[in-house]
């Protein structure tokens, strides 16, 4: 099973990287971008038996830093056709 985890800075936490990229986009002449936030995508390939609780713990214990980041989990449908 593939699991896609998105780790993002919490709202209100300043994102200097996003701000620099925003500035570059403006420099390229792209108007109408009001904000840029940069996060991280992590894809896991896990056993089918892996529980939601286990994935949650992976996020909380290592993949995200809960002081500054939030995460969301998406399970990708990779079941093979019968």
């Amino acid at each position: 099973m593939k699991v896609r985890i998105l780790v993002r800075l919490k709202p209100g936490v300043l994102d200097p990287q996003g701000r620099a990229v925003h500035h570059s986009l403006e420099g390229l002449g792209f108007d109408g971008v009001s904000d840029v936030r940069i996060g991280r995508m992590i894809e896991l390939d896990v056993d089918e038996a892996t529980t939601d609780e286990a994935i949650d713990q992976m996020c909380r214990q290592l993949l995200a830093n809960m002081v500054i980041e939030d995460y969301s989990v998406e399970k990708l449908n990779t079941a093979e056709p019968a």
Binding site: L14, P16, L63, N65, V67, I68
Partner: protein, 225 residues
């Protein structure tokens, strides 16, 4: 016999030797050098230093992987028993990632790597790491980091300030840190994390000796303990 000090090396640490030299200059004895993959701390360690560098190439987040390395489990237990632990730069990042200290160290607000000597205000002179400084004293200590922007929520910041746990503050804006915080203590006062490098200011040839008293404070506190 003097204090038994130990310096932990992670893959990618690069200030471990400087830290060991600083401890040797101050204590007169060469500290133990420990590898992150060791499973246990040797018996009778009185002081643990986590050095600067780029452990695990700063993969995932600075300090994140090192905080979960085998030896860190023993370091956390030792810290909880009251053994003094000093984390400098990447060592500070490791301490926050290991939850021994609150908050997190984010990319500098300027996005730039900052490498220069900065003035710091010693905010707490009661701790075992800062007893040899004068209250409110300004000292000069080098910083060299990309991820030194200290972040914590307002409640945590208020608690740190209220409990006298801000050990060092930048005398002026440096890297975007909330309330210009450069170094903090844990609640028990035996764990100090700081971005500036006291081990790089030990003798006059370094351009300054203001870091030396940090180690002297700790060693004196240990001798009196």
């Amino acid at each position: 016999m003097g204090a038994r000090c130990a310096v932990v090396t992670f893959p990618g640490s690069n200030c471990d030797r400087d830290m060991a030299v600083a401890l040797e200059k101050v204590t007169g004895a060469s500290p133990l050098r420990l590898w992150h993959g060791d499973s246990e701390l040797p018996e009778g360690i009185d002081f643990i230093a986590l050095p600067g560098g780029f452990s695990y190439g700063d993969y995932l987040r600075s300090g994140a992987m090192a905080a979960r390395s085998p030896l860190m489990a023993s370091v956390i237990k030792a810290a909880e028993r009251g053994v003094p632990v000093l984390g400098v730069c990447n060592g500070f990042q490791v301490l926050t990632e290991a939850k021994l200290l609150p908050g997190a160290l984010m990319r500098n607000a300027s996005q730039n790597f900052i490498c220069r000597t900065v003035p710091l205000i010693v905010e707490n002179t009661q701790s075992l790491f800062t007893g040899a400084y004068e209250a409110g004293e300004q000292v000069q200590i080098p910083v060299a980091h990309h991820d030194g922007n200290f972040f914590a929520d307002e409640d945590t910041l208020d608690r740190l300030e209220g409990e006298g746990r801000v050990a060092f503050r930048y005398a002026g804006p440096c890297n975007g840190s909330r309330r210009d915080i450069a170094g903090i203590l844990n609640q028990a006062g035996n764990v100090l994390g700081m971005m500036p490098h006291p081990e790089r200011a030990i003798e006059s040839d370094h351009g300054g000796e203001d870091g030396r008293r940090l180690f002297e404070s700790a060693i004196r506190a240990l001798a009196g303990a």
